[in-house]
């Protein structure tokens, strides 16, 4: 490199040196001195992470609306005769299943990274089942609630929040199914396993969002 030559207008902060102090996983996201176009996996994960951060802001906007409405309308929140979302055992089990599925999909991806395809596929299939279980459970819960989408603010916010989240769970499950089918094609991983890594990250995202929604919708009682 051109150590002997200094260009005027170089960075006022020594970015390259600062980067050395970052943890490894963050360092991989931030190429400084010229890009690393040949690292397709890194490039893809950077883009996908950026996308997920952006997507979380849509959820944030729904959550902001929910909190603002709930704080300013606390007395009229539940229409007469409506008890709102219930923190039942059913719901708790559903939540536990969804959240623990994150701890199933991660080892699955790790197996894939080490080339253990059979173990990967079993754990991946288990994740699909757990995700599907959550979706069915959510549907059952919805059908037993004593309020509809148009039942006041509680209905509007509850169904939009859980519905939007459920849409993401469904998308995650579909992505997992696609990845599972593709894993059966010989030579599928010759160019890396970006798809599986992205799907795993997406699943973690879905689970983290659920932690927030669960707390806001079920734990926060009037």
């Amino acid at each position: 490199m051109n150590r002997g030559v200094i260009h005027v207008d170089e960075s006022p902060i020594p970015l390259e040196q600062c980067r050395r102090y970052l943890p490894n996983w963050l360092k991989r996201f931030l190429p400084i001195r010229g890009g690393r176009a040949e690292d397709h996996h890194g490039k893809g994960m950077f883009g996908f992470t950026v996308f997920l951060l952006s997507e979380s802001i849509v959820f944030l906007s729904f959550i902001f609306t929910y909190i603002a409405l709930r704080l300013t309308h606390s007395r009229t929140w539940l229409p007469p005769g409506v008890s709102g979302p219930e923190l039942s055992t059913f719901v708790i089990i559903n939540t536990v299943v969804l959240l623990s599925s994150s701890f199933v999909i991660q080892p699955a991806e790790n197996f894939l990274k080490r080339g253990r395809l059979v173990k990967f596929r079993w754990l991946w299939l288990m994740t699909i089942c757990m995700g599907t279980y959550f979706l069915i459970g959510q549907g059952i819960e919805w059908s037993h609630l004593d309020f509809r989408l148009s039942t006041g603010l509680v209905g509007s916010t509850f169904y939009v929040l859980t519905g939007f989240h459920g849409l993401h769970v469904l998308t995650g499950v579909i992505l997992q199914i696609i990845m599972l089918i593709r894993s059966l094609i010989p030579g599928n991983y010759n160019k890396g396993h970006f798809g599986a890594s992205a799907t795993t990250l997406f699943w973690h995202f879905v689970d983290i969002v659920w932690v927030f929604l669960f707390s806001l919708l079920y734990l926060w009682q009037a």
């Binding site: 207008d9 704080l71 300013t72 309308h73 007395r75 009229t76």
Partner: protein
């Protein structure tokens, strides 16, 4: 020597700019509508100040650009470089720090004037008026309280007209205000968002249906002004201009008594236009909500518009 002359020229240029911007700033008062409230006077002086600063910056930089265009043109085939300077840290620091101080000063001036408006009563108090709520959601802090108003006029706005209910329960479509007295306006909207805007008062406030919004105003100049709806509120919202009469207390009371006996004629332009649409070059015939006409302009019944 040359450097000294350069600095002298720059100083001279700045001095000329200061004089010109101050001079134009004085004109700014005439660009505004008549000042019908004390608040209007303060806002106009803020505006004049902002205009002066703005003109200074615009003329200063545009002047430099014009000078460059005149004196630094290169001939058609001359592709040699100008001067190699890539920057000057001191100058860049100066032109970052100075505008920062300037805008913070402007914000401070704006804040000062805003505080004075509050004390005079222009600040609005917003109460959330929910049927089952008993406390306002926004805490009404003590420094939000305007000084007590002499009386309250209830303002009701809907698509597409204004009506006012006066202390003696007279209802009218015209707003009459006594001069030099504090009057509280209690604003209510029936259907969609509207905005209460009187340019001569320099006063504007959105009215949210379901909320109870108070404004206190002290007009200081007798005259006839216009109240407009400044927030798009549907098909005929351009026809919502209504008259504001600021008059002496005697005349105001006279009008109130007269209005009790003889109702003022209804001038709901939206209804007129809806029933007889004017001829236009293009007609879309798209749907519009039908404007409703109140039955009698001045009624003594209580309007239940919350």
């Amino acid at each position: 020597m040359v450097r000294f002359l350069e600095y002298l020229l720059i100083a001279g240029y700045i001095a000329v700019l200061l004089v010109v911007s101050h001079w134009i700033g004085q004109f700014a008062y005439s660009w505004m509508p008549p000042e019908a409230t004390a608040e209007a006077q303060k806002i106009d002086s803020l505006f004049s100040f902002l205009v002066s600063i703005g003109i200074f910056i615009i003329l200063g930089l545009v002047g430099m650009m014009v000078y460059s265009v005149i004196f630094f043109r290169a001939s058609k085939n001359d592709y040699s470089e100008g001067h190699p300077s890539r920057g000057d840290l001191k100058l860049e620091f100066l032109w970052t720090a100075t505008p920062t101080l300037l805008v913070l000063w402007l914000a401070f001036q704006g804040f000062n004037i805003y505080q004075q408006l509050n004390i005079l009563g222009l600040g609005q108090i917003v109460h959330l008026h929910m049927p089952l709520e008993s406390e306002p959601a926004y805490a009404v802090s003590t420094d939000n309280q305007p000084k007590a108003a002499a009386e309250t006029i209830y303002v009701y706005v809907k698509q597409w007209d204004w009506s006012f209910r006066y202390p003696n329960n007279v209802t009218s479509h015209e707003l009459h205000l006594p001069v030099n007295r504090r009057t509280r306006l209690n604003l209510h909207a029936k259907d969609v968002l509207h905005s209460f805007y009187v340019p001569a008062f320099r006063l504007q406030q959105y009215i949210v249906p379901g909320r109870d919004i108070d404004l206190v105003v002290t007009p200081i100049r007798i005259g006839k002004y216009t109240l407009k709806d400044a927030l798009f509120s549907g098909t005929y919202f351009a026809l919502m201009d209504t008259d504001v009469y600021v008059e002496s207390l005697g005349q105001y009371n006279q009008w109130l008594t007269k209005a009790e006996e003889e109702p003022t004629p209804i001038k709901n332009q939206a209804v007129v236009e809806y029933s007889q649409p004017p001829k236009t070059f293009f007609k879309s015939n798209w749907y519009t909500i039908a404007p409703t006409q109140p039955l009698i302009a001045n009624e003594r019944k209580v309007m239940n518009d919350t």
